[in-house]
């Protein structure tokens, strides 16, 4: 009987079974950021613990960083405090760190892959639920809380329970104007926001096989939005080609042997799955969320549901009322105030290229505030080399520095009042984008670009 990648990676990293019956799992890469780590470092100090595997630990700043004025000290005293705290912690404990003035700074889930830190066959942990992004490389990557950040810092291990594996095969070809973002939104729509609880999602099928690493990352990123803490794609030539030559990739003389090992970690053809689902790519249309969780979404040419037709009428009524929508109205034509292209889901170079292609030579609607926040300084630089920053600026977008920004509004980039934001990010929870009454419509970066131009939700397929 063959094994899944999850099982192979899990077994290889198992230190022992704990007396409680949980597995003690070794973590091959620990990514650290400013928001979920200060209390963990404090616990280390209080207990006199050190970080035994500093060479398997890497830190950066992303959540709180301003994307416009980055001068220190920050105007936000709490953010300055948090920043200073991480700087002190990485110095005291000897952890590798890329700070604000470093050319490699960016959203942790974007720079891990970009720098070649993220590799197939690894276990990866980070105090952030979107750590599932790294699964695109065939690693097993867990989002964790601060107490677990403390555990990984002190012991390089986590105490975990094994996961079941659901294979999601995406078959066929995506139509023009339909993207990886639409695929994952469709998966969440079909399986529900808690459908993945207790599962790792293995994304497979010929459509995923043909996807670039950027696209695979977009899909794995939002696994957690479907309730799956872990999502992954089996490593193949696309994965190997992406990692080759990156700063932290294996040295050239070892690379081919390492690549062979990576591929050997892929799920075997005869592996058994706890569940198997097929999504037909050809049937998908651009998807937009209408509600207050990522499962509340519809195709661009559909109408928002009525409470009466829903399994949970109260939840639908509550979401419609929060969003200011009437039951049964089309989502197309909904007015937007803000357009945000950014986040660990969709702020890579390919996302910016696609959005730029749509806005080139045009201009955002008068009433729309539009911003592009590249996922990393590296992405920003590459985009600037291609002149994308100028394309966006001429079209009326603001071009900002790298960070998490308006995905969660922990820095100065926030919605105001009940503004509606067309967003390429990952969560449309109430208040998510920094205003307690702000409203978020999740969609692909191309759809955000199209909405920015029209000033309302439109079908990107009609723009050609």
């Amino acid at each position: 009987m063959g094994q899944t990648l999850l099982k192979k990676v899990w077994d290889l990293h198992t230190v022992r079974q704990l007396p409680t019956g949980q597995t003690q799992l070794f973590i091959g890469l620990h990514l650290v950021h400013e928001v979920t780590s200060p209390q963990a470092f404090d616990a280390l100090r209080q207990n006199g613990w050190t970080v035994p595997f500093v060479d398997r630990t890497f830190a950066t700043v992303d959540h709180i960083v301003p994307t416009r004025n980055r001068q220190r000290p920050f105007l936000d005293v709490m953010a300055e405090d948090m920043m200073a705290s991480l700087e002190r912690n990485v110095r005291d404990f000897g952890i590798r760190f890329v700070g604000l003035d470093d050319q490699r700074q960016g959203i942790v889930h974007i720079i891990g892959p970009e720098l070649g830190l993220t590799q197939p066959g690894m276990t990866i942990a980070c105090g952030d639920s979107h750590t599932s992004t790294h699964g695109a490389f065939g690693s097993v990557a867990f989002g964790i809380g601060t107490s677990q950040v403390r555990d990984v810092l002190a012991s390089q291990c986590l105490a975990l329970e094994p996961l079941k594996v659901r294979r999601i095969r995406v078959t066929g070809t995506l139509a023009k104007g339909v993207y990886a973002k639409d695929v994952i939104l469709a998966i969440i729509q079909r399986l529900g926001v808690q459908g993945g609880n207790g599962y790792a999602y293995e994304y497979a099928g010929d459509a995923v096989d043909r996807m670039t690493m950027d696209e695979r990352m977009t899909i794995c990123n939002m696994s957690i939005e479907g309730g799956a803490r872990v999502g992954y794609v089996n490593p193949d030539d696309t994965t190997v080609d992406y990692v080759r030559g990156r700063p932290f990739a294996p040295p050239a003389e070892q690379f081919d042997r390492m690549a062979a090992w990576w591929k050997s970690m892929a799920s075997d053809a005869d592996a058994r799955y706890d569940d198997d689902v097929e999504i037909k790519a050809g049937e998908l249309t651009p998807i937009v969320t209408w509600g207050v969780n990522p499962g509340q979404s519809i195709g661009i040419d559909s109408r928002v549901p009525s409470p009466g037709d829903a399994a949970d009428p109260k939840a639908v009524a509550d979401a419609l009322s929060y969003m200011g929508l009437e039951a049964g109205q089309p989502i197309e034509g909904m007015k937007v105030d803000v357009a945000f292209i950014g986040s660990c889901t969709n702020a890579r170079l390919s996302d910016l290229r696609e959005a730029a292609r749509i806005v080139k030579g045009k201009h955002v609607a008068k009433h729309v505030k539009a911003l592009v926040v590249p996922g990393s300084a590296g992405v920003a630089k590459a985009a600037e080399r291609e002149g994308l920053d100028e394309v966006f600026r001429s079209a009326g977008f603001e071009w900002r520095g790298a960070g998490c920004s308006m995905c969660l509004g922990m820095n100065p980039d926030k919605l105001e009042g009940d503004q509606v934001c067309a967003s390429s990010s990952n969560r449309n929870f109430k208040g998510r984008q920094g205003s307690p009454t702000g409203r978020t419509l999740l969609m692909s970066p191309a759809m955000v670009a199209a909405a920015a131009l029209a000033g309302e939700v439109v079908d990107v397929r009609e723009l050609g």
Binding site: D76, D81, G143, Q148, A154, L158, A159
Partner: protein, 200 residues
């Protein structure tokens, strides 16, 4: 000091609704603090402020529920972000255990790490218990993790907690660092068999 957790007893606070996310529980702007101290002051802050005409008072603001130690919720509670600030705020408010239909996985783990069991029961039982507590907030609810029962006056239902987690609470090893630091030689040995650590 080992703290064994085998049962939790006290008044309860019912909070109806599915898919309550951690951004609701603890809005991101309060995550800028570098300690968890005082986190409970911002628990459900946005929901609580949105109250007023046409809105029911938020359960955490109902006087009769003050001092409750068990939170009653519906399904997929704690979905979204991995922020431990959410369970920290609930725990610091005074809640010692959460009983619900289901929990998001990261939230469940984060709560366990701070000694706050998240136990499940059938939707019908949760609904019945919520109604009972809403009618009589002074009801004392007892969760017996070992026996797998929830009692409230003459109400009784089955509750469940995965065996390994129940064992961790019972043995006082829910805070895992001690266990994980126990056999450092085995951790090193594991690292030494990883191709990406030692080379290939």
């Amino acid at each position: 000091m080992i703290q064994r957790i085998t049962s939790v007893s006290g008044r309860a606070i019912p909070m109806r609704g599915n898919d309550v996310d951690t951004d609701r529980i603890m809005p991101a702007r309060f995550l800028r603090a570098i300690t968890f101290e005082g986190m409970e002051q911002h628990l459900f802050e946005d929901d609580r402020k949105l109250g007023g005409p046409g809105h029911n008072r938020h359960p955490f603001d109902v006087p009769a529920y003050q001092g409750a130690s068990i939170l009653l919720v519906n399904s997929n509670f704690g979905c979204g972000s991995s922020r431990e600030h959410a369970p920290q705020a609930i725990r610091r408010w005074g809640i010692q255990a959460i009983l619900g239909e289901s929990f998001a996985e990261i939230f469940f783990g984060n709560s366990a790490m701070i000694g706050m069991p998240c136990v499940t029961a059938a939707p019908g039982d949760i609904g019945a218990l919520m109604t009972r507590v809403e009618r009589k907030p002074a009801t004392v609810v007892t969760l017996d993790l070992q026996a797998g029962t929830c009692d409230a006056d003459d109400f009784r239902c089955a509750i469940s907690l995965p065996a390994k987690v129940r064992e961790a609470f019972a043995s006082g090893t829910w805070d895992t660092t001690g266990l994980l630091l126990d056999r450092y030689d085995e951790v090193k040995a594991t690292a030494q068999r990883l191709p990406y650590v030692v080379g290939i």
